[in-house]
Subunit: 409 residues, 2 copies
């Protein structure tokens, strides 16, 4: 998929695109002493786009960030993020606290408050200890550097085990443009955003409306196609900042001759982060990818792929390395989408287990070996139409239960 339209930069971070600095510190929200406050700051006001959770109980920082974007004509210069406390279901005080975070960081940077976005992740329903946060906000600007990518990644993690960051390079009008992203999230992950925070940076010149359109489109097929446990968080958001400091002259838009390259790179970063979140799902030992083709529509394919990858029984079977295709077909059948019950083909990796809805004998031992790996790919061909989609998730394990039975302790 890479190669022609874009190049992956293995060492790239969210500061590889021109104009960005980042970093993190420990202000006291996490008991383990790890970074819990971080920021991405741009030299100049950047074109911004965001997508936000559809959970009815949207957390305070999301409201404040949306307000900033709306009142600054789609521009942001800084994103301030804390982990360890979600500032969700915290009422008027929570909203006031989110505003105070925004105002404090804006003052520390010397920019207008409407150019600052805020994000939070962690436990729901507890007020932020604002003395700690305020002190951290004052100290943070001195920590921000072009090498702060890892510190920032650390600051946004909760139960995540690994950092999630990537960067690509594309060519726009013969000039180098970078697109990078960092993300967190491992539990409460489901379509319509998740306990997932995603932050993308680019130095492309692009108007906020085109950036928003691209983000929305890419989110539908990447971030919204992952599920860890079916729970959608109050705090999910993905925000993109475009500094415009790359050297190309013509701003990007769908009419630009290099739009496809930019969109391909953008998609790579989105999909990389989404898959990294799914693979690092709470307790997960493997990434599960479900490819559905031949559905009546793309939306039907998406619904079926998400239902299969979200099925507790399919997830448990993958953990147990059991090629139990009966659970796959049962999940397809309850997705609420039209399917012809006689034309379904299913492959698990290279193993064909069902053809035209009939079991096919396969090498069970070899399939079990395949399922013991860290990537399980399931292919469903419905033979009903042209709708295709891919969804990602992870297996359901003892550790998922352990982590979530004792999260607050």
């Amino acid at each position: 998929m890479a190669g022609e339209l874009f190049t992956v930069l293995p060492e790239g971070t969210v500061t590889t695109p021109k104009g960005f600095i980042t970093g993190g510190l420990h202000c006291g929200l996490k008991k383990n002493g790890r970074h819990d406050l971080g920021a991405i700051v741009c030299e100049v006001p950047a074109a911004a786009a965001g997508v936000y959770t559809l959970n009815a109980f949207q957390a305070a920082p999301l409201k404040v960030t949306q307000e900033s974007v709306a009142s600054s004509s789609g521009m942001l210069q800084a994103l301030l993020v804390n982990s360890g406390n979600a500032n969700a279901c915290t009422g008027e005080q929570g909203e006031a606290d989110a505003r105070q975070m925004r105002a404090g960081f804006a003052a520390a940077l010397g920019v207008d408050a409407t150019l600052v976005g805020v994000a939070s992740t962690g436990v729901i329903g507890e007020l932020l200890p604002m003395d700690k946060v305020n002190a951290g906000v004052v100290d943070l600007p001195a920590k921000l550097t072009a090498d702060g990518g890892e510190d920032f990644c650390q600051a946004i993690l909760t139960t995540d085990l690994v950092q999630k960051m990537t960067c690509v390079r594309v060519s726009v009008g013969g000039n180098v443009v970078h697109i990078a992203g960092a993300a967190k999230g491992s539990g409460m992950i489901h379509p319509n955003m998740a306990t997932m925070l995603g932050f993308m940076t680019t130095d492309a010149k692009i108007a906020p409306e085109h950036l928003q359109g691209l983000l929305g489109e890419m989110t539908d097929s990447t971030f919204n196609m992952i599920t860890v446990d079916g729970d959608t968080s109050t705090n999910d958001m993905v925000v993109v900042l475009a500094s415009g400091l790359a050297d190309h002259s013509e701003p990007l838009s769908p009419a630009h001759p290099d739009w496809d390259a930019f969109a391909a790179g953008f998609r790579y970063v989105s999909e990389y982060l989404a898959k990294a979140i799914a693979r690092d799902g709470e307790g997960a030992t493997k990434l599960i990818e479900v490819n559905v083709s031949g559905a009546v529509t793309m939306n039907a394919a998406r619904a079926i792929a998400k239902t299969v990858v979200g099925s507790s029984l399919v997830k448990s079977a993958c953990f147990g390395a059991d090629a139990n295709w009966g659970r796959i077909i049962a999940a397809i059948g309850r997705a609420g989408q039209p399917v012809d019950v006689n034309t379904v083909d299913i492959n698990v990796g290279d193993y064909t287990v069902l053809t035209q809805s009939r079991p096919v004998s396969f090498d069970d031992a070899a399939a079990t070996e395949y399922l013991k790996g860290d990537l399980v790919q399931i292919y469903v061909q419905l033979n009903n139409g042209e709708g295709n989609a891919t969804a990602w998730g992870c297996d359901l394990t003892y550790d998922y239960v352990r982590i979530n039975a004792a999260y607050r302790t």
Copy 2:
């Protein structure tokens, strides 16, 4: 709830209503040698009603049973059930096998094939070993007695740990009428029927259409309000047989003066079985009951109650005895129903944890003790309207993962 309209009979079984015999035997489908073939037979053709899975991949026996009911004007005299093999996704051969089961049992009993229903539960996608089934079908009639309730219950179980059976007595026109039921199911349990088989018997005189109406109504608020893991099976069905052998003269219908008593008894049996299935969910250590009131509509209340009780995070928290109400409110918010985000009250047992969407300080240690019990009741008052509903489920435990990671081994 009992007392006035009906009386629970602790020793009652599906043969307590007049006219029924039942039993079970081991024909060779289960590796552990336990009963795997059973039947309920009525002395006379009985009024029948059924509800069936909405999974698109409906298993062969469900089609055959629906065909019997349709072609006999809503009458059935016998139900034949096997466990250990679902006869689902087995194509034309599976359908032929289900018909052969029906025909063989009809012949053994000396009744018309259209008076026999069949049901199966177990692994999906394997053909029934018909030599074993046929032999069992021939032997089964001799095993059927008025004392065969336990043998029948045994024959319909798969991963269930306990038998699920109850019986009530109601008065109709001054005469005794019984309503009884037996059920199986513990994994793949979700709204719209589950890997759940329910069989109810009554000696009431009632036309099939009124029985069907009552079953449909009761199913919506009982069997369809339970979830173990969100998966809806290919094989779920609930069938009721009414022998009409009770002594009341006026057949029951909604116009009958004792309809409410009959409906209350019917509801008790349905709810008892539904809760027993949820409590015996795979790996479960406790029953979780979610009561939602004040929703804009009853359907909204149902959707919210099912979302909360089905949340992996809520289920894990209950297993861990953690009064983590943030997960409850996050589940409410993603149910896709209108809610006022400022007016939610939540109680966990007797402990008020949220009032008007604001956290209330509560005795966390005492709440943890409560959550360690085998029944957790969660009360959600949305203060948005008059819609009320209750849903039942169970906690998510290490054993759920263990059972489902190695089901076929």
